[in-house]
Symmetry: C2
């Protein structure tokens, strides 16, 4: 039995080496690749991804997994071996259920839809991409149909990124959250808006990056096992447990961009640098789910990085770095500025409070499209209506409406937005649990120290990698299931103080 | 038949995508990989290289090549299709002759030998690595024995990098060259040495790089299809015809290093950027041989980049860039400094004239080791003797003697040094032929223009990639076989003027 497990591990390690190399192809494409490299890069990506996929759906993997079942049953659920077999089987079964011809059709369609969207958005012309998006909806439905027995047609799509989450769980949770957020936004926006004009002076790029790197280091991000580069869109990417890189965008005319992007991506990277070394080269060296991944990035960016305690320590240093721009701005005013809440049209620019409403709007529309109660033709109008209802604001264009996000135009409709709000919810649950175990965390943050928090997260979340589902890990770490209470409590407390509600 | 060719091309394109990704793994390892990434990188490299090798030695490739033989015979020798089949067959037959178990044994041994050499060199202790090097000699001989019918036991090893070259050709050629170089070095070193102390002032790194990039651009290196990064050792690397990158090392305390490294690597890159687009994703998108590759880099670095004409144009610009360091140095003195000839111990620091003697020394010792007329035990002493005889200088250490180069300690003994001198020889042949066809090249260089030379090289050498052997390409481009006359003529003329011989 040991030989079978060894054979499985060997095959998975080979696949991991290919997959991590695919990641390097992406990283280079976004960082340093010269323009001429684009077409060869597409071929390299396609070839390696195909080889990896073929090796993973090899029937030999299936038979090894079958053979290992008796052994698995002798192991405790949370052992590395049992988890490896269980998680690999889940991926394997999912992978073999989707015929290669369908995957190819979807990939081709996706590429075409993405190309067209890239023209439609600047042209503010939804009609260019309408029929392609309708096809995406159809293909997304067909994808789900490879997984008969689902409760809601969106469930198999959600399962792709947020394993163990379902519409039955998320819809009431999000509706509950929405009902709390709408009045909170109303209350906040009835007050005087925070002044953030000083964030929009000129801030030298190299100083911003150096400051962001210092923060990431303080958080616990290990630059011997990672690095920071500039890209058009920030991201975190892992090539190995000891090579987890982050990127950022920098705007010299807006201080908030790079600093919080770096905190966000460092939050992702702390998760992946924190996997147990025993999980290296296996499918377990991954986040439990996209939502849990977002919980780490959002916890570090928002709960820590936008807290008053954090800036009590770091603001004097920031002022020292940018004296001309910030010397006359008080800590309180700075803190208010980086937490300014406003009704806005663009999800990626949204603040901590309104952000979830952007997500909930998309999640609701996705479900209607998949259920067939909304047609793609009527989507732009439904978008505007939902924005009006939930955020009290309407875009005059589709470019800033239904065309704004890449997700639906370069993947499935369904399954790709919920993770952000799940992340906010779980992040608050984790932070609350950490604080309960170690009340000194708040005072440590005020001293620019993060080791207790980092250690708690490593111990309770990070080191497990993908051994457990999101639901399992939240229950283990916090003692309760997914719950919005800590998040609502956090938002209410923070923003009541900020806006004197 | 068309389908068979298409099938072959498809398989080769897949292998090319893997191989070029392996190159990216190397590039990243040398440029941006954090220290922690090293052990995973070794796994990724091993896995991808193995997959590529398995795909290439697939018997299906062999049967496609057999099936295509009748078709090949209907084609002209220089057609793309015939060349593809011919060159692929040559590689295939070479690859399948070496048993995988032997390749693995050699790779393991190589890694161990390299590790030990890394300790032996700084410790100046040849005895540490002696028995391992003896094993390398034995393995190198065994490698050759997989190719029965060779004339000299070094031929199969030489063929690995310089296909079509043999000891029978190279030994008399190198001996002839040696006989001309030894008195030339004697004559030069009897004169007053050039003063190059001003090259060793302080030169800001960013300015050096910017200046080098400008020169590379003027040569014709296309930065839209490439880029320049910093590494410990300069190199050129190709991921695709439109993504050919170069690297350089920069020493702030020596102006010569980065500038000439960039020219050298740009020379390699011009070759690869110049392959016909029809060769993309095939084994033909490669240099004809390592020697022909070196001919391009050495032509641009030395014949062009160290010429008086070149600096007539560029020296005033260099003075403008570094006025404090160079304003009082005349063009003549600068030109003499960058062409300073001296008896020295280290190959990589050697000037244009003595460089070949370093190579010829190593080539001779390799042959004796393989022939069995020299034992590894006696190698350090033989090294010193050969240096004394050929360069009139003896190192007091083995660190600066037999331990100085990585080649024998991280690969075969035999086959890895000849390419540098072949490159010098062929480079002069090419330049002479180009000049004969376009006498205006010299005056263009004085104006900082290189398009006629670049065009001639593209037309006669670069675009063919690996369609022809080194010998074929030299004959086609210059009308004669490998010949040292143009090189000797070039050296005699240049250095007679410089040193008033």
């Amino acid at each position: 039995m040991k030989e079978k497990l060894q054979e499985l591990r060997k095959r998975l390690a080979e696949i991991d080496a290919i997959d991590s190399t695919v990641q390097l192809l992406y990283w280079d494409q976004s960082t340093y690749m010269p323009p001429g490299g684009a077409s060869a890069r597409a071929r390299q990506l396609a070839t390696l991804s195909q080889i990896s996929h073929e090796k993973f759906i090899d029937p030999k993997i299936g038979s090894l997994l079958d053979d290992l079942r008796p052994y698995e049953e002798t192991l405790s659920y949370d052992s590395d071996d049992a988890s490896l077999i269980r998680v690999t089987r889940r991926h394997y079964e999912r992978s073999v259920k989707v015929p290669p011809s369908f995957a190819a059709e979807f990939a081709n369609h996706s590429a075409q839809c993405h190309d067209t969207w890239q023209k439609a958005r600047p042209a503010n012309d939804f009609s260019l991409v309408e029929s392609l998006l309708a096809k995406t909806v159809e293909l997304s439905r067909r994808y789900s149909d490879f997984f008969p027995g689902y409760e809601h047609i969106a469930d198999p799509l959600i399962d792709l990124r947020d394993e163990s989450m379902t519409v039955a769980v998320l819809r009431p949770l999000f509706e509950n959250l929405r009902q709390q957020l709408v009045p909170l936004v109303d209350a906040i926006t009835s007050r005087k808006p925070a002044d953030d004009v000083f964030l929009r002076k000129t801030f030298a790029e190299d100083k911003q990056i150096a400051f962001g790197k210092d923060i990431a280091k303080c958080f616990g991000y290990d630059f011997n096992r990672g690095r920071l580069d500039k890209t058009a869109h920030p991201f975190m990417i892992k090539f190995a447990l000891d090579d987890v890189r982050i990127t950022t965008r920098v705007r010299e005319d807006f201080l908030g961009d790079a600093m919080f992007s770096i905190m966000h991506e460092a939050g992702h990277a702390l998760y992946e640098q924190g996997f147990s070394p025993d999980l290296e080269s296996t499918p377990l060296a991954d986040g439990a789910s996209t939502g849990v991944h977002e919980s780490s990035s959002r916890l570090w960016e928002n709960i820590v990085g936008r807290s008053q305690g954090f800036w009590t320590h770091f603001y004097p240093k920031l002022q020292e770095e940018f004296p001309d721009q910030l010397k006359s701005v008080s800590l309180d005013n700075f803190y208010a500025a980086i937490n300014k809440v406003e009704r806005s049209l663009i999800r990626t620019d949204a603040d901590e409070v309104t952000y979830n409403l952007h997500v909930i709007i998309r999640f609701g529309l996705e479900l209607e499209l998949l259920e067939g109660t909304l047609s793609v033709k009527d989507l732009p109008e439904a978008w505007h209506e939902s924005y009006k209802k939930n955020l009290g604001i309407v875009s005059s264009t589709d470019a800033d409406g239904v065309l704004q996000d890449i997700h639906w135009y370069h993947g499935t409709v369904g399954g790709s937005f919920q993770c952000y709000t799940i992340g906010n919810i779980i992040g608050s649950q984790f932070f609350q649990a950490a604080l309960k175990a170690h009340p000194e965390i708040n005072s440590e943050i005020e001293e620019g120290r993060f080791d207790t928090l980092h250690r708690w997260l490593t111990e309770n979340v990070y080191r497990h990698g993908r051994k457990f589902t999101a639901d399992e890990i939240v229950r283990q770490a916090t003692g309760s299931s997914l719950s919005i209470e800590p998040y609502i409590e956090y938002l209410n407390k923070k923003y009541s103080e900020l806006y004197c509600l």
